[in-house]
């Protein structure tokens, strides 16, 4: 297990939601470096090292992306679709977060290739438990995909 800071990207336009996600994540015994992006365009710029983030090395990809579906400019599903089509980001673990309980949304979320689909409950205690398990799974148990695109070349 790696020591040090774990990078997590939170794509969320609502600051209150972003804050609650961070609080919930911090209950895990890890030290996080949170990157907050506020719309779909910024999320893509960040992950694909474009625009404002052109200096960023895409190899410094976050270990986990928490992607709200309802993002301004480019919505979460569209962001996910772009990520899955780009060899540099195709394997990044993306957890979709949604408020909706509408079932059709779930199918729409998995279609472009979400790793997980979480409906944010109104009960904060429950939400904390979910985030706790989520973080343990993706940041501790799960072996992260190799980054840098080398694996992709052999495909």
């Amino acid at each position: 297990m790696s020591v040090g800071l774990v990078d997590v990207l939170i794509a969320e336009d609502n600051t209150a939601d972003a804050e609650l996600v961070q609080v919930a994540l911090e209950q895990n015994d890890r030290s996080f470096r949170f990157h907050l992006v506020r719309d779909g365009e910024e999320a893509l710029d960040f992950l694909l090292s474009r625009g404002w983030y052109s200096e960023r090395r895409y190899q410094d990809a976050p270990r986990l992306i928490l992607l709200d579906i309802r993002l301004p400019k480019i919505n979460g599903l569209e962001v996910l679709r772009v990520l899955r089509h780009d060899p540099r980001t195709r394997l990044l673990p993306v957890v979709l977060l949604t408020s909706s309980t509408l079932e059709e949304g779930v199918a729409l979320g998995y279609h472009p290739g979400a790793n997980s689909y979480i409906q944010k409950p109104t009960d904060f205690q429950l939400f904390r438990q979910i985030v706790h398990h989520l973080a343990r799974y993706w940041l501790e148990f799960n072996e992260p995909p190799p980054l840098g695109g080398r694996v992709m070349d052999s495909w």
Binding site: S99, T122, D123, F124, F127
Partner: protein, 385 residues
């Protein structure tokens, strides 16, 4: 008859043309104008110029024969009445063309002024009516298309609206609950009992509202959903509904009596929602009973299959029975029995979508029975309201 009817006589035989012309003049007393064309091309040209009220058409022309002649003229004449002029023995063809829209036929050699006149008058009237009908149909069709487009737009809007409600109303609830919880945790032991109680109330409020939003969305979804009819074993549906019931925290004994259920034509998914609502209501309202008894069965009443869910719970006064199925309508105080008052509204909506009826019988403390029927063998696919 109107003074000046304009007749286009399409006839290549000058003798026949003359006979018809004479008959026409005899009938109208000379007040009808007759144009003669002796081949198809000429007739089509004349039609193009317009002003013709009725056509008398010989099918055998130098440049066209039989049904083709009729088809060409009909296409150009768009709605003009056509009377066929046939030779003896051509009745078969004439009848076939009447099926395709010719108004009548007269047989050469048997032309009689009175007959021709009556035939023409009827032909013109019939053609007018048919044209009017066609026009009305077209208008109607256009209106249906317009209305359908409007409905589709409204539906899309409603869908967007529902989606927004589901997201945007829930988000602030999460924040209220989350931050209230965090305040409480930060305060720890310094928070006095009253303040802790307030914090609990905030939490309960958010959860209730969350449930309300979910139920409302559900009701709206059921309203929009298209009914997908299929042969369905109700036994299975009831079993599935039972399995889906929330486990109660406090253990108590519920005696279930499940009667044999029929196999009916219905939407299985929607029927599951019906039973889940009725069964969870029965469980809820028998909570004060030490020995709860819930019965699910079907019986034949006056030839109709009536399904029912009966409990020995707290029941309700029959004078409130008509309020049972209204959305948000509750017959119990929230501190007695929790709920949003949407469940039975949803159930009723589903039953109605199936062309059925639902009603209840009860009395205070005497338990309650909810009866419903499902459209008697009537197929009602694609019911969306």
């Amino acid at each position: 008859m109107n003074p000046s009817i304009r007749v286009l006589l399409v006839e290549d035989n000058p003798g026949d043309a003359r006979l018809i012309r004479v008959a026409l003049h005899e009938w109208t007393g000379g007040s009808c104008v007759v144009d003669v064309a002796d081949h198809l091309a000429g007739a089509l040209l004349r039609l193009e110029a317009g002003g013709i009220d009725i056509l008398l058409l010989d099918l055998g022309l130098p440049d066209s024969q039989g049904p083709d002649t009729f088809a060409a003229v009909q296409r150009k004449g768009a709605g003009l009445p056509i009377i066929l002029v046939t030779g003896t023995g051509d009745e078969e063809i004439a009848l076939e063309l009447i099926r395709r829209g010719a108004q009548d036929y007269i047989v050469k050699g048997k032309i009689d002024a009175q007959l021709l006149g009556r035939s023409m008058r009827y032909a013109i009237e019939r053609a007018n009516i048919m044209n009017e009908n066609r026009r009305l149909n077209e208008t109607l069709e256009r209106r249906v298309i317009d209305r359908t487009r409007q409905l589709e737009a409204a539906n899309r809007e409603l869908e967007t609206f529902t989606y927004s409600v589901s997201h945007d109303l829930r988000a602030p609830l999460r924040h209220i609950d989350g931050f209230a919880r965090l305040v409480r945790e930060r305060a720890g032991d310094t928070l006095d009992p009253t303040s802790r109680h307030y914090m609990d109330s905030i939490h309960e409020g958010t959860q209730q509202m969350g449930q309300l939003i979910d139920d409302l969305l559900h009701l709206a979804q059921v309203g929009r959903q298209v009914v997908r009819m299929g042969r369905t074993k109700l036994d299975t549906i009831v079993q599935e509904a039972l399995a889906g019931l929330d486990q109660e925290p406090e253990k108590r004994e519920i005696r279930w009596t499940l009667g044999p259920m029929p196999e009916i034509e219905c939407d299985a998914g929607l029927m599951r929602i019906v039973f889940m609502n009725l069964l969870s209501n029965a469980v809820k309202y028998t909570r004060p009973r030490r020995q709860a008894h819930i019965e699910v069965a079907a019986e034949l009443i006056r030839g109709r299959t009536v399904l029912y869910v009966r409990d020995n719970g707290v029941g309700f006064k029959m004078k409130y029975a008509d309020k049972l199925f209204g959305a948000f309508q509750r017959l119990h105080r929230a501190d007695e029995f929790e709920g949003t008052g949407i469940g039975l509204a949803t159930v009723q909506r589903i039953v109605h979508k199936h062309g059925g009826e639902i009603w209840a019988e009860s009395d205070t403390d005497q338990g309650a029975t909810f009866y419903f029927t499902i459209g008697e063998g009537r197929e009602r696919p694609d019911v969306t309201t």
